[in-house]
Every structure is written in C-alpha cells, then in structure tokens.
Subunit: 201 residues, 2 copies
C-alpha cells in the first residue's frame, strides 16, 4: 500500500471544493487513501502577503468568478457562487477535526456536506448554527459538538494544523502532496492523475 | 470563418511559452486563426500590484520552478529553466511587431524562435544582439531591424499594444480571448479546446 495523499484546503475556496469532489475517487483508482486537512487560507495570505482572488484588481476578480463556474461545468460539478464570499471557516474546520478524531469516514461526509452547503445550497457556513445543523443531519450529537467548538483544545488543534501546514511549505490552497511531489490548484488534477498512473513523469 | 483568437503573452513567461507551442495547431483544428500579442508582464504587475511567481515567497517560488518543468513534461514540450530569469523582453516584442507589419508568418516563426532560444537554448533574449541574430537566422535584414528597434515609432507601437491590452482587461499572462470568453493561464488549455469544440459549455 502506497503512502496516503495529503489534501490541504479551505472550505471557503471554490477550487478546493472542485478538487474535493474528485480527489478521493481518483486516489482510490490507484489504490491510495487521502488525508484531508481543512486549514485557513486567510492565515496563509497574511503570511505570504497575498489576498483572495475576488478582492484583487477588478478585472481579475471578475474573471475569477467566471472561472469558478466555468471550471465547475468543465469538471461536471454543480456550482453556485455563494452570496457571502469569502467567509470564515474556523467553525467548520474545527468541527471537522473533532469528528475526525472519532470517525474519519463521518468527518469526510461532513466535509462534503459543508462544501455542498456553501457551493450548491448557498448556506452561510461561517455561522456555528449552520455547522451544527449539517453535523446533526449526519447523526452527530449537536450539543456535544456545540460544546466542543467552544473548547480551547479544538481551537488549539486547528491552529496547530495551520502551523504544521505552513511549516510543511503550504503557500496557497488547494495543495496536494503525493510522495513529496506538490501540486497546487484544482487545475493540476490531470497532472495528479498522470503522476498516480505512472509513478512520476 | 469564425473570428480570430487573441493570445496575449510575454516572451519571459514560461506558461506563455507552453501555450505558444500548442495554440496555433489547436485553433487550426477548429478552423480558427490566432492573433499573437507579445506584451510586457512587468507593466501589468505594476498596474495590478502583483509580482513574478519566482520573486514571491520562497515556497511559492520553488514550487513555480518545479511546476514550469513538470507542466512542460506533461505537455510534451522541451523546457530548460533559463539562467537569466525573468528578463526584459522589450526588444523581442518590438521586433515582433516590426516583422508582423511586413510578414505575419515570418513574425510567427520569429516568436517561436525567441521562445525556444530562451526556454530550450538558454539564450539571453533581453540582449538586442540575440534578438537580431534570431531574426537574421530567419532571413531578416539585420541592419534594417537594428535601426528599427531604435526608432521612436516602434517603441510607441509596443507601448500602444500594452495599453490596448490593459484597456481590454488583460490582468495577467498568458491570456486568451475566444469570442469574448477569457481564459487565463496555460492550464486552461483543456477548457480552451472544449470551448472551441463545442462553441461554449
């Protein structure tokens, strides 16, 4: 069994959503597992002096909105530009790690549900209530999660995950690592597939 | 006959080189011509507050160098990272427009030769002598071109081309326009092909 693939993303990143809809099936095709790492793009932007695509110059911002939707159509993935965007994803990411410690398959279902709540149903996933509702719909004990989201431990956990990612060299998202080979951006999916297929090229 | 495709690039951009090796044949497959527009990425960076990939944070710079070479291998295009990079491309771009006014097919051959001189043979294409030598090898009168490169007219021409591109919304390179649909980056080549094939998606 080959080593797992690492997939770093922010729930607020459209290209992260697009990759999230493809990466597990692609990895499975080549006998690989994927470790998901929801982190905070805002922290990375601050460290690297960058900014969200839609808050850069007007022409690039307008293009980015067009490209999110066109890339989704190209990849056969449903997409609707969220009315609140970009938005804070700390609550969703903390809930992910809390669930992942108990049941990684459940955490994966939760992550897909969060992405789809934002990019299909235009829900405000920055709100704790939305995150709790998404988890509850998957059978999670709402009050246990609500308490956990307030705990210093889970806040420290997410901070650690972000710090570790940055120490590992993550400079932007989505960011995929396969056997020390880095792929940045959902548009590197064809290269990811070729790499998995041929063990390098 | 459908309208020509517009292809904006800087001779110093690796992704522009990669696209330059594919765009004409792809367009021809769908009965289209391509208008090439060498412009100056540095002017766009200044206007948009951006910077070359390899002069951004160290992790992103290192990744970019890796990605240039890997993307070239993925696309089946020879590539060697130039020792002088990025570099000024005013002379090459001015020579292009001067040639294009006389013989557009010759200008196209010159553009390919400039890109390959930089990305295959590691030549310093910022030097006027290199540009003159490349043109002379294609049968161009070296002294006529040398004189032309010093003329205020050709300097104004390149400035106009850059201004027009920016007025048209070009915010980065390479940048392709097909029937008012914009595609940014060599990695949008599969979307460009699908768009040409199906007339939109």
């Amino acid at each position: 069994m080959s080593a797992p693939i690492d997939f770093y993303f922010d729930f607020s990143s459209p290209y992260g959503y697009l990759l999230s809809e493809k990466i597990d099936a692609l990895a499975a095709k080549y006998g690989r597992q994927v470790r998901w790492h929801p982190i905070l793009l805002g922290v990375i932007f601050k460290a690297t002096g960058s900014a969200p695509l839609t808050l850069q110059n007007p022409a690039k911002a307008a293009y980015s909105l067009l490209d999110f939707e066109r890339s989704a159509r190209f990849m056969g993935i449903p997409y609707r530009q969220p009315s609140k965007f970009p938005l804070a994803t700390q609550n969703a990411a903390r809930a992910y790690y809390w669930l992942d410690d108990e049941d990684c398959a459940l955490a994966r279902r939760f992550a897909h549900a969060v992405f789809r709540a934002l990019y299909v149903d235009d829900r405000d996933i920055s709100a704790p209530e939305t995150v709790l509702e998404i988890a509850a719909n998957l059978g999670v004990d709402r009050s246990l999660l609500e308490t956990a989201l307030q705990s210093p431990a889970i806040k420290a956990r997410l901070k650690d995950e972000v710090d570790q990612a940055m120490q590992a060299g993550v400079f932007g998202l989505p960011y995929v690592v396969i056997d020390d080979q880095v792929f940045f951006g959902a548009d590197r999916l064809p290269q990811i597939e070729k790499w998995l297929e041929s063990g390098g090229f």
